[in-house]
Symmetry: C2
Subunit: 372 residues, 2 copies
Amino acid sequence: MDDRIHDHAAVLVDWSARIDPGDNVVVSVAEGAHELGVAVAEAVGERGGNLLAVDNSAEISRAYLQGRAAGETEFDGAPAHELAMLEATDVYLRLGGGRNTAATTDVPSEVRGAARRAKGDVREARLATNWISTVHPTRSLAQQAGMSFAAYKNFVYDAVLRDWESLAQEMAQLKTILDQGSEVQIETPTTDLRLSIADRTGVNSAASVAYDSHNLPSGEVFTAPADAEGTITFDLPRTVDGTRLAGVELRVENNEVVDYAAEQGEATLGELLDTDTGASRLGELGIGMNRGIDRLTDRILFDEKMAETVHLAIGRAYDACLPAGETGIDSAIHVDLLADMRTDSRLLVDGECIQQNGTFRWEEGFAATTAE
Amino acid sequence: MDDRIHDHAAVLVDWSARIDPGDNVVVSVAEGAHELGVAVAEAVGERGGNLLAVDNSAEISRAYLQGRAAGETEFDGAPAHELAMLEATDVYLRLGGGRNTAATTDVPSEVRGAARRAKGDVREARLATNWISTVHPTRSLAQQAGMSFAAYKNFVYDAVLRDWESLAQEMAQLKTILDQGSEVQIETPTTDLRLSIADRTGVNSAASVAYDSHNLPSGEVFTAPADAEGTITFDLPRTVDGTRLAGVELRVENNEVVDYAAEQGEATLGELLDTDTGASRLGELGIGMNRGIDRLTDRILFDEKMAETVHLAIGRAYDACLPAGETGIDSAIHVDLLADMRTDSRLLVDGECIQQNGTFRWEEGFAATTAE
């Protein structure tokens, strides 16, 4: 077994999930994640956790939902056995990595929706644990990224096997700036967007439950804007529900998208914005800071953490960013869209440039032009 | 997918487990049983059951136990999440079929034992569900059987895809004879054993929870002898914990093994008999009746159901066979040993021959000699 699989397991169990002796741990294993499952099981055993391995096979999920569709039996609330398991779970580790990213595409959307609604309590119970989502590199994901399997493995481990302590310290600087600031400006030749963030709290997403962060890899600082005004071009493409969105442009007034266009996927973008009231509002501003991620791979877990990018999400805001008692933007969707900051860009907080052309002001090579 | 996989799933879900809409179903999937898992998931969905798939990988189990051994943390009772899951489970389907029958052989036996003891409540909760154990044919199991993969698949489906209703009716005849009888005699050139079965109840093990039967395939009638006297040769070999037992001979007085010998594995046989007080007593008499099983494959799930064989177990008796209020033989072991009845054999109940040379008296070709 590749040593890096054991390293990945150790980061997951120690840095990310902070497993203690006696913790009840569920490890959810995708079809292609068996080897990581083995390494994680050993690490959980060494830490004295109690292991229960759950099979998270996309093909089994698809077959079950196809069966439900054929049987025409109504879903009847959350399954009691799954709910009882999760309510007694301390740590939930989701090991993604399938064998076919399109494995469930032929499940009728109404069945998928009915199952999702029936399992609302299951989802809430899972989110109440110390959960972490990660992926094991598979050929299927390499294909999605347009990469050889060997190159993709290098990519994944470069992203995952970071010095997280050091990155957390670096990200803390940005969190402090955002927490103290009132307004963020994003400037590129095609973007001029102002986001009000007064009283908002940034999340230092350092890939650990100790930082309210639930992804491995992570490496971003994000917050929830109170207001937004201006135009933005998302020049980095992504795939949403099988449709490629590229060259997305939004015009925003009073934090509402009032005009949109896209070079690819414009109709899908329109449907997404129409989902509900919150879907046409900006629920998140995220700033990627993981320099182990050096390219897009069409998987948002990685893409949104890439250094020298920023992303905004249309839809739901995260509670952790909001002042106590305030409910943020609510929506059934949260779709991140990415902008490239490598060239001709500036990120300003209260008029002060904190990043130019992808380089933060505390990094070597930073040379900000004066704020306007 | 081989149509027989879907047929197997249908027998499992409908005949064996009797799944109803709303049942909470756990499907435990071994490493090599993915395809059967897919077919079972679809069938559970069609019947309106709630599916939770559990990963039963031998390699993950081994890694976890090796980790526990290295970490030296004491097991602390049954894991609450697994117990809570099982207590809310109606049906537990165990889909065996690994990729290496020796996958866990290097786990230290004391760790295995400690884990088994810690999970006693988990085991009890699982046995309190409508559980069924079956196997998906894998190359590993074909190898264990000394068969090609194609031939082994034919073997498994011949054993599993029976007319169970019809076999249940046939087995009911034998159950009636045993329930009404007081003494069973097994006679071959090297065996003369008398088993007292007065007041005992036979189990018509027809591969369905409706028959108190939890194996698919099944196809045996079994009971728990009250007493035993005589000698028996088990001329069919089997492997127990990695050791081959062959040519086992037992001499029994007052249902206690007073002398033993074996052509192979005699030392292991001695250790088994020494496990505890119950281990040197005969806890079960079983009579194989599945004519779909035409050869030994070194997996007891199949071997003990083979037509024209009988088996006796040293160790624990099943409660279902005992008169109300009586506790049968208790032991940590239950090791089945098999005798060939194809030639020069008679099975008698209260002096009357019910099977000769493997043919029951209700079958074509039966020609019993007069009882002695």
